[in-house]
């Protein structure tokens, strides 16, 4: 049951919001407005679809080609800003969702990366993952905004990693 909920939590939540907002729109503006909104959603889907397919192929290919363990030897506790920069770069290039990224943190930790580098890595993945940027942010919000936001937030994971190395919270990878 827990596993089912964990796997489908987003889907269930989004489904409920969609049903509630759809019902509200139907009551307020009638069936025509509901149909028009659905058509608009379909158009948006057609607009994103090519990027989605390309993004998934790219992610799948990188998973076959890259070996994260090899990068981790640059990310140890003594690696300084260079290690944080490697972690930030690796995070931004990591494709896929949380089901791929969080287990990778364990792989990197096992291969020698320290907590600061791991914090930088996961933040960089969630903030500036190339896949999210190219598949969603650029097409939906426009390239100007997407590039501006990415440039501004690009160094932030390094900063957070630097802070994390100085926080008095010890962390060991769960066995």
């Amino acid at each position: 049951m827990t596993a089912f909920f964990r796997r489908h939590a987003s889907l269930l939540l989004i489904g409920s919001i969609a049903a509630a907002s759809g019902a509200a729109l139907w009551r307020r503006d009638g069936l025509g407005a509901l149909g028009a909104a659905l058509f608009h959603a379909w158009e948006l889907f057609l607009f994103i679809a090519p990027s989605l397919v390309a993004g998934l192929v790219l992610a799948a290919a990188l998973r076959q080609l890259m070996s994260p363990g090899a990068l981790a030897r640059w990310m140890g506790a003594e690696s300084g800003w260079f290690g944080l920069a490697v972690a930030t770069l690796a995070g931004a290039l990591t494709p896929g969702g949380p089901m791929a990224a969080f287990p990778l943190v364990l792989v990197l930790a096992g291969a020698g990366a320290d907590r600061g580098a791991l914090v930088a890595y996961i933040l960089s993945w969630s903030l500036n993952g190339f896949q999210k940027l190219l598949v969603y942010e650029m097409p939906l919000l426009g390239p100007d905004f997407a590039i501006l936001r990415t440039v501004l937030t690009l160094p932030m994971p390094m900063l957070a990693g630097w802070v994390a190395r100085r926080l008095p919270i010890a962390w060991e990878a769960p066995k």
Binding site: L13, S21, S51, A54, L123, F145, W171
Partner: protein
Amino acid sequence: MTGGQLLLALLAAIAFGFALRRGPGTARKVGVDAGQSLLKILPVFAVALPMAAFLAELIPADAAEGLIGPESGFSGILLASFAGGLMPGGPFVTFPLVLAFAKAGAGVPQMAALITGWSIFAIHRIITWEYPVLGWRFVALRLLAAFPLPILAGLLAEAAVQILPVTLGRP
């Protein structure tokens, strides 16, 4: 097709080319992997895109302008940072929602804070993945190190739009 989409298609083709050079077995694994991901994402799209379209219709235009509009300044950035952290689901949910916010009159710095806040805090992802896989100590470490960043992103974007004419919206 936009420039970003073309770039992505090109990168995918190059990466697939490298996989092909490793042998047909690797290329087939890439195809299977991509197909499985697509099958997982399509059901989410099927509910997320209608949800965003309904919400965009329900939210009146410029409803959010007073709260997180371009003139809302620091308080708008603060509010957007928190609102971002509460948004449920992955990018396929958030970006259509963000589009609804943009329609409702949000400003560029506030939007930058919102997306950064969502990327960093994303409560659903902490509960479903980060805590179970990495433990609460890692969650605490990351949140303490990163909590000011959405506000910083908003302030930097505020400074940037004074110089650069950046707007929201489809190309």
